[in-house]
Symmetry: C2
Subunit: 384 residues, 2 copies
């Protein structure tokens, strides 16, 4: 059975509406995956996550590898049973976190040695072990182990990273031993379009179940992000799902859908929510702001999330102000609902032929917010 | 309309099953009220609270007075709208927190001057202002302003506290200006039975809507708690609800129901939950314990709470271990469900005539746990 079908292709942009079939049910694309770093979205129960509109969750191999360990999750029957999330799950390969969170001891063409960011203990990951670990965690979609580069990055390092990423992708393909899982390749190359093409061509030849564009949303800004995505997406097979990793702000997502991307994940709705930053159609608001002290209205009129249905901005501001957990929880629920409603609007407008106009207007209105991502990204290392 | 009806009186003990009618619906008694200190039970949404079986919530006047302030809550339409909890709410008078949390500057027969535990700013409370504040917060049941004594306490101080508590009760009665609220008197007197009788008689003469036994569960231990309750409860009018404040461990509650108590509140299920301590029919378990590392079973077999229905002990232990909010949230949901199931069993066995035997067996089995409360109580000041 084909694991991805495109149901509607937009006639004016490269956007498409499809269904991604997984071992734990279908996902309507374009889709956004909330990040459940350590087996859950912070503070959110699986039932609540579903209510926000989420159909698929991402979990971080790096974090789960360190705690509670692969053995524990495997012995309990895998990630779905462990996390209580019955829908589809995608695990990343750990590459991004190894290169951004840990103290690297040694990187060579075969493997990465690093010190755990928790207790400094030494860990080694390579293409084979990262794949086997993901095989054992049991997510529905797993990712190739790749080398992530920062931004900006010297060309020589970008070249080396692409070379390793391609070599490792081949090894991941060979190591993959769980037929219930789809394996996606990851295109690297920073904002260098020549390297992106080279990497995309090499990976496409390996025939992966899907293809990700990695190494973006690391500080390059909205325009470079969009330009690189617009260039790279069409290089990937049209009949396979395309996944833009770690993206992003609402305008980034809409622009990437225009370029033909189907899947997204990002910590912004959840991490920003925990920091009292709420997304709305009229732009983001800061819930700690004293202007909400006596505001009896919801975060966003008409929003069906539990925060907006039950609480005034004044109450939510109070919760943040007194350090009450419910503040971060409510803002997270609202932001995830906002993101999933956005994806719903994207799918709906693609289907009814209004996506080109709608998306242009949306990007125009929200593009400025995307500039905020740069500074947010800079604190990513601490907050992840 | 009568606000309290007794439907079944146990023939072998003083226990009774009744219904307390409030402006926000009926409460089946004996009932347990979870503590929503600052307008919510920590980490728990109103819908989740209801699912645990809660019918009534308690909120702390002292905390709400300091933040966000009475004006804010009043301007937003009162505590129910602010907290999103549509069921009955009881507010305490602030007395307990004033005497336990704040730095007291001056206490005299008329009023208490203290420094806020948040910013040290000076606050004055007296019987009249504590009542008017509660009138404005808008809970369904409000409490008289009383002087709480620690344990142990010299007789002269106990006497003074009872004298003030009685005088203030009269003033609260006169100041009370919200006819939609029931006003309860509070009996003080520590473990001195003569003072308890004196206080109970004086308050009974004032004809309150209900009567509380205060100043217990402050370190006196299970036996003294039960003895004082057994002595005091029958001194209070049989046709009014009796409320044992701040109690307690499961065996304390069951013993107090035997003595004729109808209402309880306590931070134990919630605070202990946040500290990874879970109540079960086989006694409490500590969820951080390494013995659960690979345990695929729920906290308690057959428990209908979201923690037990969805997560293994191994997953919950992991959440506590990595500092994930979901740990405290899940343990809180479990403990509240445990408490409300306990109250349900109490009501059921009173109705079917098996309460005497059931309660004796229960207390025998769980009494030892109540000894743990003493040390828990000692850290109350920090944790509240």
């Amino acid at each position: 059975m084909k694991h991805f079908t495109i149901e509607v292709s937009d006639s004016q942009t490269a956007a498409r509406c499809g269904i991604l079939y997984t071992g734990h049910g279908p996902v309507r694309t374009p889709a956004f995956m909330p990040v459940g770093t350590r087996g859950c979205v912070k503070g959110i129960l699986p039932g609540q996550l579903k209510q926000t509109g989420a159909e698929m969750m991402l979990a971080n191999t790096y974090h789960l590898l360190l705690r509670p360990g692969v053995e524990v999750i495997e012995s309990l029957g895998g990630l779905h049973r462990f996390s209580g999330w019955e829908g589809p799950i995608l695990t990343d390969s750990g590459g991004y976190q190894v290169f951004s969170l840990s103290s690297l001891n040694r990187v060579d063409d075969d493997r990465v040695e690093f010190a755990s960011h928790i207790d400094g203990s030494p860990v080694v990951l390579d293409a084979c072990s990262a794949t086997r670990i993901q095989n054992r965690l049991g997510a529905d979609i797993i990712m190739c182990f790749d080398e992530c580069t920062p931004y900006p990055c010297p060309l020589s390092r970008l070249e080396k990273a692409v070379e390793r990423t391609v070599r490792w992708a081949q090894l991941c393909r060979q190591s993959h031993q769980n037929p219930r899982q789809l394996l996606f390749g990851i295109v690297q190359g920073g904002t260098d379009l020549t390297l992106r093409r080279q990497c995309a061509q090499a990976l496409t030849a390996m025939d992966f179940d899907g293809y990700a564009i990695g190494g973006l949303s690391v500080g390059e800004g909205h325009d470079a992000l969009v330009e690189t995505t617009q260039f790279t997406a069409p290089l990937l097979p049209a009949d396979r799902p395309r996944y833009l990793m770690g993206v992003g702000m609402p305008a980034d997502i809409v622009a990437a859908v225009r370029a033909g991307v189907d899947l997204f994940d990002c910590v912004l709705p959840t991490r920003n929510g925990r920091n009292a930053f709420a997304f709305t159609d009229d732009g983001p608001i800061r819930l700690r702001n004293s202007q909400w002290t006596q505001d009896s209205g919801p975060i966003e009129e008409g929003c069906p999330c539990p925060a907006c249905r039950t609480f005034s901005k004044a109450a939510i501001r109070h919760f943040f102000n007194v350090g009450e957990m419910l503040g971060p929880i409510l803002a997270t629920l609202h932001n995830l609902t906002y993101y999933h409603r956005l994806m719903n609007t994207i799918r709906k407008t693609i289907r009814d032929g209004t996506f080109e106009v709608w998306s242009r207007t949306f990007i125009e209105k929200h593009k400025k917010e995307s500039q905020m991502e740069i500074s947010e990204t800079q604190e990513r290392k601490e907050c992840l």
